[in-house]
């Protein structure tokens, strides 16, 4: 199994006629994802290499049965686009857009919480989600992922996610799903959300978690792991050497005073029983070690298909 998406997920791409949406939307389709529609207001009736384009998300849902959305529109229109997806009944929305104002993100979170609790947002400013061999929504390069599990990956950083996928795939260790939650201050899906889904997924046997400085998402994840999780977790946290008060590329990656430091996050994760790596390569090696140690046991208890 996978989390959030699977081989039946039908995706509508918002901004399919723009450069980002077209490039990644077509890549996602080439990977095997069911990209069923595009939406660009005013361009309804056109198509992008055979993918029909509609004026509204509601039309894409009605005509093509889209149940997931890929939002690849510029920052000033992104918040409205996400809410439009939710209003059209889309259950899972991936938003890769970077530089959305924080107030807009907070407003989107409030709208989803109050009016559309059935919609899950992944991102903004995230690489998306890939369930190898089944579905890829976002900007992850599909060829570095390996189908079959048993590892689930959740990460705040894009390139470090690719690095993690690559390290595991090269050792022949596959992934059930790889989730990029993004580096913004108000992520739609948090570490805890993804960990919960992995814990509930019988095919995911171990989880790799990649955090970074800023906020307290990693500390909350540590609490959840300590209290609720049975599966092994290997983690890496970037930004041990980050200076205070400077945003390290991501809007959410900032150390303010003693808050949000990598050191505090690493200590919280260690105390929750998480295996913490010094760098992304070591995280890959440690995860391969966990898989080799337990794979016999896991095979003996393979869940019924």
């Amino acid at each position: 199994m996978s989390i959030f998406v699977d081989e039946n997920t039908k995706v509508v791409v918002l901004g399919l006629t723009g450069s980002q949406g077209r490039f990644h939307g077509l890549r996602n389709r080439a990977y095997g994802t069911k990209v069923v529609a595009g939406v660009t207001p005013g361009k309804g009736g056109q198509d992008v290499e055979g993918i029909p384009v509609y004026d509204t998300v509601a039309e894409a849902v009605e005509r093509q049965g889209a149940d997931a959305a890929f939002v690849a529109v510029p920052p000033r229109g992104a918040a409205e686009a996400i809410v439009n997806c939710a209003a059209a009944g889309i259950a899972f929305v991936v938003c890769i857009t970077e530089h959305i104002p924080a107030k807009d993100e907070a407003l989107v979170a409030a709208r989803l919480r109050r009016d559309f609790p059935g919609t899950r947002l992944l991102g903004p400013n995230c690489p998306g989600v890939i369930s190898p061999g089944k579905c890829n929504i976002g900007i992850t390069s599909g060829d570095i992922a390996l189908p079959g599990g048993p590892v689930g990956i959740v990460s705040r950083s894009g390139t470090l996610t690719y690095q993690a996928l690559h390290e595991l795939s090269q050792q022949g260790v596959g992934q059930t799903t790889c989730v990029g939650i993004g580096g913004d201050p108000v992520p739609g899906t948090t570490f805890v959300d993804a960990l919960q889904a992995f814990e509930a997924d019988p095919e995911t046997r171990a989880i790799m978690m990649i955090g970074e400085i800023g906020g307290d998402g990693e500390e909350r994840a540590a609490d959840y792991i300590r209290n609720e999780m049975s599966k092994p977790v290997v983690a890496y946290v970037a930004g041990v050497t980050a200076p205070e008060g400077r945003k390290m590329g991501h809007a959410g990656a900032i150390v303010s005073g003693s808050k949000g430091t990598a050191k505090a996050k690493i200590e919280a994760l260690r105390s929750a029983g998480v295996i913490v790596a010094k760098n992304p390569t070591e995280a890959g090696e440690l995860m391969v070690g966990v898989v080799r140690q337990f794979e016999g046991e896991w095979t003996a208890t393979t869940p019924a298909q």
Binding site: H24, R27, P75, R76, H99, I100, P101, A102, K103, A106, L107, A109, A110, R111, R113, R114, I139, T140, S141, D143, I144, S155, R156, S157, G158, T159, L160, T161, Y162, Q163, H166, G183, P185, V186, E212, I213, G215, D216, G217, R220, Y236, A238, G239, V240, T241, A242, P243, R246, M248, G249, H250, A251, G252, A253, G257, A262, K278, N279, P280, T281
Partner: protein
């Protein structure tokens, strides 16, 4: 973007928050003229992006022109924790009865706005939070609900503000929330918010951090001057549209993706080196961007080696390699490049670089290997 005090106050004033009459001054003569205009006694305040100005001698009271001249002359040019004072704010002095605290920021975990109000103003609020957490009243605000006067008054009352200050404080809180939301600030903080001896509530200090991502709907922000010294490397990087942060080490860093860049800094540190910068070239690692990145790092005299760490996903490593080779033709580099390329098309990329055999490029297969090599080179030259 962080505003200095007077910019923050002027930003507050747009939203109707009461502030003292004041004027900015860059010279001693301007300071005296400003003092004459706002009326004695005045407070002469250093405008720098750092706390603890008062203790450092950056805030002084002047009763007349002679004192204003003396203080302005003392404070201009003063070094406050590494920040040289180049601008002053001269404001009419306030007779303070009580000092409070008020702020709005985002509570990321709750995904709600958070108001904090305290009757213990005038000191570091983190200290209050540590020693007397109950002295800070907190209120989560759903952006769909906003903040109305009754809730604001209740919050001020919960914080223990004096009864005679409640109505005015509530009005300030409502305006401050509007400044925070409509003004697209990541943080607005008044410390202290004062009650004067004649019963008025107003902002005696201002801390405002604007959300750079919202600049597109605030054309007025372009008029805000950057106060204080700007790192020339960061200035150049900004002009070239790069995500760059200057640091003090000897290993120049270029990586694609913020996480990988941060991680590269960490790994350099783990193997005994120090990074000269953080530089994320993002997803479009083409020749032009690579050349710009190398140019910026090349201006840093502390750099003795450049570590380029690229993981190809959508970005193909052969394109990156081509970019570096093209960049080398454009930029006359003072330092060698240790290059780690992995991911999509990395084999082709390495072959291309082998064929060109540039002595300035030292290839490494892994991130750790590259960091060790770079630090060796940096150590050997310093």
């Amino acid at each position: 973007m962080d505003l200095v005090e007077y910019q923050g106050k002027q930003y507050f004033a747009r939203y109707g928050i009461p502030i003292s009459a004041g004027r900015a001054a860059d010279t001693v003569d301007e300071a005296v003229a400003a003092a004459e205009e706002v009326g004695y006694p005045v407070v002469v305040k250093a405008q720098v992006q750092v706390g603890g100005r008062g203790k450092a001698g950056g805030v002084k009271l002047a009763a007349d022109a002679a004192e204003a001249r003396q203080h302005a002359s003392d404070i201009l040019g003063l070094d406050i924790k590494g920040h040289i004072v180049r601008r002053l704010w001269i404001e009419h002095a306030t007779d303070i009865e009580k000092e409070y605290y008020a702020s709005f920021t985002l509570d990321r975990a709750a995904k709600l706005h958070l108001a904090m109000v305290s009757a213990r103003g005038g000191i570091d609020i983190e200290q209050v939070a540590d020693t007397e957490p109950e002295a800070i009243a907190r209120l989560h605000i759903d952006p769909l609900d906003g903040l109305g006067l009754p809730a604001a008054r209740q919050l001020a009352s919960d914080a223990g503000l004096d009864p005679e200050a409640l109505d005015q404080a509530a009005a300030v809180l409502v305006d401050l929330y509007r400044c925070y939301v409509e003004g697209d600030a990541d943080l607005v903080e008044i410390n202290p918010l004062v009650l004067t001896t004649d019963g008025r509530v107003h902002a005696l200090d201002a801390k405002v951090t604007l959300d750079d991502d919202a600049a597109f709907r605030h054309p007025e922000w372009s008029e805000l001057e950057q106060i204080g010294d700007v790192d020339p490397r960061e200035q150049l990087a900004k002009e070239k549209g790069l995500q760059y942060i200057g640091l003090v080490g000897s290993v120049g860093i270029i990586a694609n993706g913020a996480g990988l860049a941060m991680s590269t800094l960490d790994v350099v540190n783990q193997v005994g080196g120090t990074a000269a910068n953080f530089l994320d070239i993002g997803g479009g690692a083409n020749a032009d961007i690579m050349a710009n990145a190398l140019e910026v790092i090349n201006t840093d005299p502390n750099v003795s080696v450049i570590l380029v760490n690229i993981f190809g996903g959508i970005v193909r490593c052969d394109e990156v390699a081509q970019g570096i080779l093209t960049a080398l033709e454009r930029v006359d580099l003072a330092s060698p490049i240790v290059l780690r390329l992995d991911g999509t098309n990395s084999v082709e990329a390495r072959r291309m670089l082998d064929e060109r055999r540039s002595e300035q490029i030292i290839p490494e297969l892994t991130m750790i290997g590259a960091a060790i090599r770079a630090v060796e080179i940096a150590g050997g030259q310093s």
